[in-house]
Symmetry: C2
Subunit: 382 residues, 2 copies
Amino acid sequence: MTQSQQGEPKRHRSRRSAKQKMRLADVARRAGVSEATASRAINRPELVRPEVRERVARAIQELSYVAHGAARALASDRTHSIGLIVPTLRTAVFAESAEILQQALNRSGYHLIIASSEYDKAREYHEVRALLQHGIDGMVLVGQDHAPELWQLLERSGLPFVTAFQYAGESSYPCIGVDNRQEFYDATRFLINLGHTNIGVLTAETAGNERLAARVAGARDCIGDHGLPKPDVVEVPSTLTDARQGLRRLVERNAHITAVACTNDLMAFGALAECRTLGIDVPGQLSVIGFDDLDIAEHTQPSLTTVRLPLAEQSRRVGEYLLARIEGRDAPSSTRLKASFIVRESTGRPPEPARATVQRSSADAGPLQTPSSKRRARSAAE
Amino acid sequence: MTQSQQGEPKRHRSRRSAKQKMRLADVARRAGVSEATASRAINRPELVRPEVRERVARAIQELSYVAHGAARALASDRTHSIGLIVPTLRTAVFAESAEILQQALNRSGYHLIIASSEYDKAREYHEVRALLQHGIDGMVLVGQDHAPELWQLLERSGLPFVTAFQYAGESSYPCIGVDNRQEFYDATRFLINLGHTNIGVLTAETAGNERLAARVAGARDCIGDHGLPKPDVVEVPSTLTDARQGLRRLVERNAHITAVACTNDLMAFGALAECRTLGIDVPGQLSVIGFDDLDIAEHTQPSLTTVRLPLAEQSRRVGEYLLARIEGRDAPSSTRLKASFIVRESTGRPPEPARATVQRSSADAGPLQTPSSKRRARSAAE
DNA sequence: CAAACATATGAAAGCGTTTGCATTACAAAA
DNA sequence: TTTTGTAATGCAAACGCTTTCATATGTTTG
């Protein structure tokens, strides 16, 4: 606790407050070594004799020394922070992913700096600029639909980066995520296998949201591939109120509709709520599926059949990828993750006997998995 | 596009990649001024002749110069980043606040670095340390219930900081938020004013969550102040499934219970869901209130009477406070925000005529406000 | 017209680390 | 012994900016 201030060079700008912050020089002096050795004791302990290492550690402890991040970053060219740009944190899926990623990075001594673009490409570009300027060692983006200048900036900067939440193929920029088109294709097939032939699609705005757009495409493709008529696709703003309206529009315009594929759980909740209001029995008269498996999905009335994203795995892999790249190792640039399909109560056979050509079994409907959900799936309208 | 590399001092460490990053010196040379002037043109434009300012701006543009954050931070002792530590981003209220704060700070040229503590004090302490080391200009914490070492560290560092989500009085550390005790006191009074005399409390774990604890206290106090018997308080883990169990326990243990005050919307949703399962009519047989006003609150069946937090205002004020402190201005250290009470369908008069002493009018029940909610409140069991 | 002042600029000293290179200390080999 | 090699340390030069201080250039003013 007794550090004599002797010998300290006068500070040329007197900005330090009364409580002088300890610097590496203080630690070094106390441990009786040079700054270089003190630095090495911290960063490359294997280069320093155990006894010295020990002394430095003690000095750090006693002086409650905290390294100066900026100085360190300047000298070492490593900021130990990673940037993440999500469309919004208000979406549970992004918030949760951010949280998991942050935890994962923390464990490796990295920090997460989060920015949100509000689904606005120009804004996103500026966020990237700002992050680049702030200084980051790596960056995570959502999807691959970004302003060209953004890509250019990113490539020029030479910064390691990945995109997440959408598998974009081998030949794209590095990406880690599920194939939204395929996953929703499979989900839609589940409905078809149940016997549905008149399926509507309810989606939030797809402009600027490639994930949603891919899901819609998946549903369309699946329905087309099974020789069914083109589905009615209703696109609404991303609120529950709009989702309810969307459901109403869907059932009003399509008298014989028996299933609605919603591109996310929010839409599905809206649909469920509106069905309740309209007196439509789910799944008796109408089957509903969602996408995301939000916490409430299990507790709605009826509970929601939906697609669960492997968020934890995605975040973990994103972290691993980035750290590998930062450390100069290379890593598989494209990873395709698989979602799981969660069958709950909101889906069943259509009310009228199905047309004929369609197969009955619901067993082979894509990559099914029965989750640790209390309420079990049912395969027919009870 | 043509910059000659002549005159450049040889780099003593050859870490720069092929694509040489532009430095301030490059900009200065191109603009025909000294580095000092270039720097000023960027940071204190008013000190530089407009014409020169213009030339520097053009040089920056042409070279697509991006300032080096770490160097800047080292020289100026400003990182332009703010740390935020929340218990978890999985809670919508925190995620939303983080988002709003981040946006607000961005507008002022600051970045938000988010960390989460998972409601663990030790972990939180380490996050603070890590943020301090990384270098931040200010810090936001949730509530005032933190490890003593954390406070100590924070005070020693001299870093500007605020706590949010709970008003802790004038004499506390700087805080900006609502008074959770009072707000829930008022909410409970609303129930009492409706005629309820047997009110249960359902809460998620209060250990390490002073906001929840304060709300429970508010309910207890209110019930006590009205001469009613001590309420049954059920505390469960913070999941919907547990909330449902909690509701069941509450109604099983208290045959005459007519209202349940839930300390957050999650608990309330669970309660509502379980009531549906148990065939309990809400609000016919049981009234339910929540806290937070999550998006779905308006769309549950029945819609949920709850308390809405002024998140946007809170985040805005937090940002303002911090920036003021960083710039050396001082700011009111404690700000008490008011929540709004949102009356929806989940509350009504108790089924049996109330005991007598309790007043009938629901009009003077605290700081009521009728929100822009489509569905209007109703004051009695229809 | 000189004095007094304001305004713009540049030179250079840091900011607190890391790290290339040189040096020292010591053990193993000759 | 002396040589050679290796492991541990120190010196001092960056890292890329900001900012103090001094200087130069105008602009008023008495």
